[in-house]
Amino acid sequence: MRVTIIDYGRGNLFSLGRALDHVGVSFRLTDRPDDVRDAECLILPGVGAFGDAMDGLWRCGLVEPIRNAARRGVPLLGICLGMQLLATRGEEFGNHAGLDIVPGVVSRLPEGDGSAHSIRIPNVGWRRVTGTPGAAIGPGADGAMYYFVHSYAHRPSNAHHIMATVDVNGQAVAAIVREDAIVGCQFHPEKSGADGLALLRAFFDFAVARGAAQSPVGKRTA
């Protein structure tokens, strides 16, 4: 299997590539709609602002190809802003339509009360995630610690899309979302040490298994 990383000019793709090298997965970087159309497995990275990133995807003609891939059941991992873009809309610097693959709204994190227990926004640092009870967690583990850096969060309208949460000033915020083969993580697995690399491995194992199951001849294209 080869992973297609969507490169629309937002995000630290260099580090992501290094993490994929480390877990032994081959990849290509692309901003071409055709590459997204024939992808076996997609990663949508991203840092920066929601509206700006969606503009980038539209400009490259990538919005419909990504939506179609999601509909076809192509495994897709959204990272950080890439997870937020899966939402219906985002409220960062105005109202912007998202990819609407994992329905919900991206809104600002709650501010703390200034006490020693409160978290400053942007929420930067290593946070422990809590698996949602009964969720088929797939990639990601209850109690794992990942590196977060964000001021906004995806609030899925459908609670069963939430696989794990992180506590931000008393609010349980989605840390991992999943809708069938679509997975989003708010943190940076490529920057989260052994826990992050384990999540990437789990996602790719899942993607390979999914590819084998869906392939007409049932063969793995590893």
Partner: protein, 256 residues
């Protein structure tokens, strides 16, 4: 309370990691890539590479160091030193930096903070503040530039507030008075700045052992600590620091 972030700060001169006292009298302490790898394996939470003589060697030097480190270091990397423009920041991020630290260029042209925040998101813009007690003995601290070599006449606390207003994502606050002394962080400076801003603050300068690190958490005057000395001279390696902090009831990311 969120876990205290433990950062290794590596000051770079040419091909080497160096360490001095008050940012002066530099000694070579090791190889940038090897040290980052070692700390990563020991469970460090983040790494800061600070090119302290960027103007002498050019930026390519530190960027190749960053590119090498990203091969097997999977925690956030911040790069600082000599970044003057949006183009410089682009280059640093493309080389694998997750965040950039800017000081001198931001003091000369504060709008760089706003421009960089808009272009890359504030989360990757760390404003580095080198603070030193006013030489004339008046209360407060002066912000210095050029790795503590140049005075500015600017009040460090007021500058911290301005940096936040302009869109800094984090502040790296280095006490030049304490740097390299192992006498502990300047808790007064940190408390003053931490109380005036709402963004995360990284304490730097003066850490000589676990007690100094614990004091930052119990005084609640920073969200992260950057240490050099105690790791580089193996006075208190990363796993030991973390376990001693845990013993003191301070949450940290466990080492694996």
């Amino acid at each position: 309370m969120p876990p205290l972030r433990i950062i290794s700060r590596l000051d770079i001169k040419g091909p080497n990691v160096v360490k001095g006292v008050h940012l002066e009298g530099l000694r070579v302490v090791g190889h940038p890539g090897e040290m980052a790898r070692r700390y990563y394996e020991q469970g460090i939470d983040e790494i800061i590479y600070m090119d302290i003589v960027a103007s002498l060697y050019g930026r390519n030097n530190i960027l190749s160091i960053v590119r090498e480190a990203t091969r097997d270091v999977f925690v956030p990397l911040t790069v600082g030193g000599g970044l003057r423009s949006i183009d410089d920041i682009v280059e640093a991020l493309r080389s694998g930096a997750d965040k950039v630290a800017i000081n001198t260029a931001a003091i000369r042209r504060p709008d760089l903070i706003a421009e960089a925040g808009r272009a890359f998101g504030s989360q990757c813009i760390v404003v580095s503040i080198e603070a030193k007690r006013w030489p004339d003995g008046r209360p407060g601290w002066e912000a210095l530039t050029d790795n503590g070599r140049e005075r500015t006449g600017i009040d460090a606390v007021a500058w911290a507030e301005q940096a936040q207003r302009l869109g800094a994502g984090e502040l790296l606050v280095t006490s030049v008075d304490r740097e390299g002394t192992a006498r502990g962080f300047d808790l007064e400076l940190l408390s003053e700045i931490h109380a005036r801003v709402r963004i995360p603050v990284i304490a730097s300068g003066g850490c000589g052992g676990p007690d100094h690190a614990a004091a930052v958490a119990t005084r609640h005057c920073a969200d992260a600590i950057a240490c050099a000395h105690i790791f580089q001279y193996e006075i208190c390696p990363v796993p030991q620091l973390k376990s001693e902090l845990q013993r003191a009831g301070i949450e940290v990311r466990r080492c694996v």
